[in-house]
Symmetry: D2
Subunit: 317 residues, 4 copies
């Protein structure tokens, strides 16, 4: 075990910290950094060596993982004044697990190549729990020759590692999945709401959908209607889970890639707008299944009020 | 003046009452009814003769106007147990100014024809103010031969009377106008919001749009952004005006006619959904230009909060 | 077997004929009618007794199934001049397997009740193949007391019979399922198209989605991309399957019920519009998974052409 | 006249060439370049001095206009190896009339500032005809102090010059206008189509809209229905005008800025998707008002066919 070469880790947030811990658990010396000193301290206490900047990490490790919130952070950490590429050694393997625009991944790969390093994108699916239990799914894009080396590290942190193709295709797979997820979730919320309005019992309706062609992950594994399933955010006032603001961010990425490739994505685009409006209306930090709540009638604004109001409306357009 | 024959009037709501008053002002004896006794009383005090049911009005008048909130009311008033058609005299001219599904107008026309009466649809544009000042616009559908007789009455209540074609085309014109109005209003609200976010002064942006190809009634005559124009609901916390719930009702009619005629109306359909969600989220009684407010960021949910939240999100999907 | 009482069957189309045959196979004497003489003849040759009108069927049978294309046909067959209700016997069980507006089902139930008969709605899921093999799914709405009697007949024709609640809830369940199906299908088509544009192999992308939260029936059982799955319409130039025009019809029903109950269904509504545009653009008779083809770039209109055209555009708005 | 200092002009396409000609006509010596030699030649024959690269133009002129197709071209022309900023003189006024992402305009302004030059964005509204007749509208963003100097040149080429605010606000105004234009156009097309289906005469419907609250530039100045107006592309099989592909590009810019600023633009977003699908379905080079044609029923796919097909459909989902 002692002979394992050190692994760099940059970005010690809610996801990065448990991922780095799993590397330590697997016997890898970890050389880490983060913008927050308290995050660095936490990992240092567990045995990692910590530094102030990505450049310093790059001097010490020839395999480096990054886990960052968005494209600008990735650009800064790789190509900034104290970025990885300022000090990276030839032949270093750089693996970015952030969810970002595939075009940025490709830019980073080009920039890395100029320094003699190799860049791969490997965004994850699964939350904090999966990160702690090393049950993440990694979708990996990059040159095939380096995939095995990446896989060796990623299997310490995840249960599934899938090779997707050239650089950027890991991001593409992630973005595609989340776009379809958002569409399925909003669709399930609308459908359950309509069925309830039409007199169906929500549990029964979910059962019928799940044995029919309406079945999807949001209906059978993450149902957005309170009371239909246990152990999902809809049963807990939409706390925890995957925040609306994060879904809106991923849909923004999907929209950008669609716009750049001139690909029509009408439902994905509308899903993006709906999550965007939800962020503006106070749902930013609720789980993304709260779209069910967003679409429901508020108390005090029941249809009967409306119909009574009609004959006395003050204006016809 | 004394020789004018009486006119029946059924439906004495916010719109119907000032319309009936204008008939009285023009010297027509009015024979009226409404489901609410206090509404009947108000008109009786002004000199109208009032009865309990539409059937009784039909016995006394050979020209009858109806102004009702929605299709089911129209069906009841015409074909119900105490409806007009139970007692209508041959040759009676029936003019319905309600905004309803054109298919219902056509049904009423067929039913009226069986009794020897003639039915025309004549929905109005303009609000309570226009109704009081006899400045309404009427869009009239029905047999051409009867149009002149209808016009004689309608000009007492409106400034514009437009013949649109066969029965139902008055409704069609009204529905079409309001669908395009809703699209223009939401489009204006989105555009103004985007421009403001991009650093443009709202008044300047409105000016630029209004001298360019983005110009529309909602941008130049009813701007939804507070402070851009005077004398419109956006300057008065979206009080008064044309309620979101009424717009949602009209868009529901547009959607139904589009569905029945297999006509694609993608933006009209989305506009309908947006106003429907607004009704569910507490905007039912605000003016329909409040869509600007609905799309704006709420205080306390500013973008900066969101971006800070991102790196610490509890889950990646 | 000989003691079984006869069953009426009205509507001998592509679905009704194999359903009626399964009743015959199970030993039920069948008393049938259809507007097309050749359809009547086909069933007569198999041992059914045939009549000219629904009223005559109603005189002979005290359990009657109907399988008709749309609401107006159902209204005619039940309440028309030669309709079932003109001659129906007290206590007759009427089961309608057509897919129609639940409001019409409720109307029929009220009309039936006045004659002393009982009406249930029992729309089906599954195609002609499932109808022939008695593998349909029935979603049944109506009074609970009569469900067992209905179930006895329906199990001769289907593999699953689900009790959904009061009259109309069978339709509600069917409409809800198909709305979510349409959303999932278009979403899958968009997502697969986007992924392919971003460089992913379609089979690999489908695999990734199907093991992740993007999974849905359209991605894992009916994938719309040619070459990804076998035995589905996408592998056969979108022949057979479930026609775009039929999906558009079901989405029209979903839209109407949503409008009538003031339920926001933004994605369902947009899905309806997309299938409506597809009908207008030549896809009416292709399987509904052809939305993938509809969204793809046509040959000769590749993005490169577009970007070359840009600098020489004749007009800026 | 001879004392006027020379003006640089880069980008001699359909728009740039007539703009540069108007500078010549106003007595300004023009120093120009373009990637196409034939475009350079055309201007040279009219008296301009031409060079091979933007850098060479920058050496000779202290006021430079650029008119380029999209963001990447602008980045190349300003910051590329032979770009303006390689040789620009201190105090040079750079005016970019391309329609691009305002964020790119701001980047160019920052880059220009480092060299001591001043950058302004000044996108245009109006087509080739307006460019020839010097009737363009310019929307100008940049430091107020330099506006007067810019205005002096722009008034040679346009009838309206509007100061919008800091750098990027010219682009913002342009993008906002075109997004609202697209929404109004599709809305008008849907509305006119629906009205025609409901039995209204198209000319009459346009008249009614134009005197009512549905009025917009697309209904009253550029009606998309053939036969309603003269002198617009709808009367000429949608030839000429403003191509669908150009509108799709502008909507892509609107979408990007909305995504980046987290602004919900539901109708703008759907309009983008519709024009994107149209590009994929063969409408790329038709005027953007051809959305009316796109939404119409094709011959041979009339509704009646559909309803006949229904009872014989091969599958129910």
């Amino acid at each position: 075990m002692a002979s394992k070469t050190p692994v760099g880790f940059i970005g010690l947030g809610n996801m990065g910290t448990p991922m780095a811990k799993n590397l330590l658990r697997n016997g890898y010396p970890v050389i880490a950094t983060d913008v927050f000193p308290e995050s660095r301290k936490e990992l240092q206490d567990l045995g990692a060596q910590v530094f102030d900047t990505p450049a310093e990490v790059a001097e010490k490790a020839d395999r480096i993982l990054t886990m960052l919130p968005s494209s600008p952070n990735v650009i800064e950490v790789y190509t900034g004044a104290n970025g990885i590429l300022k000090k990276v050694k030839k032949g270093t393997l750089l693996i970015d697990s952030s969810t970002i625009d595939p075009a940025v991944s490709r830019e980073m790969a080009v920039a890395a190549e100029k320094t003699g390093a190799v860049f791969m994108d490997a965004p994850v699916s699964g939350g904090v729990g999966a990160a702690s239990l090393a049950k993440l799914t990694f979708m990996v894009g990059g040159v095939k020759e380096e995939y095995q080396a990446a896989q060796e590290l990623l299997t310490c942190m995840g249960a599934n590692v899938v090779y997707c193709g050239p650089v950027g295709t890991g991001q593409a797979a992630k973005i595609c999945n989340n776009m379809l997820l958002a569409i399925g979730m909003i669709g399930t919320a609308e459908t359950m709401n309509l069925g309830i309005r039409l007199g169906l019992d929500p549990k029964l309706l979910a059962q019928i959908l799940n044995m029919s062609s309406g079945r999807c992950w949001s209906s059978d594994s993450y149902n957005p209607v309170p009371g239909v399933m246990e152990g999902v955010p809809s049963g807990n006032n939409y706390q925890g889970g995957f925040g609306t603001t994060l879904m809106a961010k991923d849909l923004g990425l999907a929209q950008s890639t669609a716009t750049n490739t001139k690909t029509p994505v009408p439902l994905g685009s509308l899903a993006h707008q709906i999550y965007r409006v939800m962020c503006a209306r106070g749902y930013a930090n609720k789980d993304f299944s709260s779209v069910f709540q967003f679409l429901r009638e508020e108390e005090g604004h029941l249809p009967s009020v409306e119909s009574r109001a009609l004959p006395r409306g003050s204006m016809c357009m």
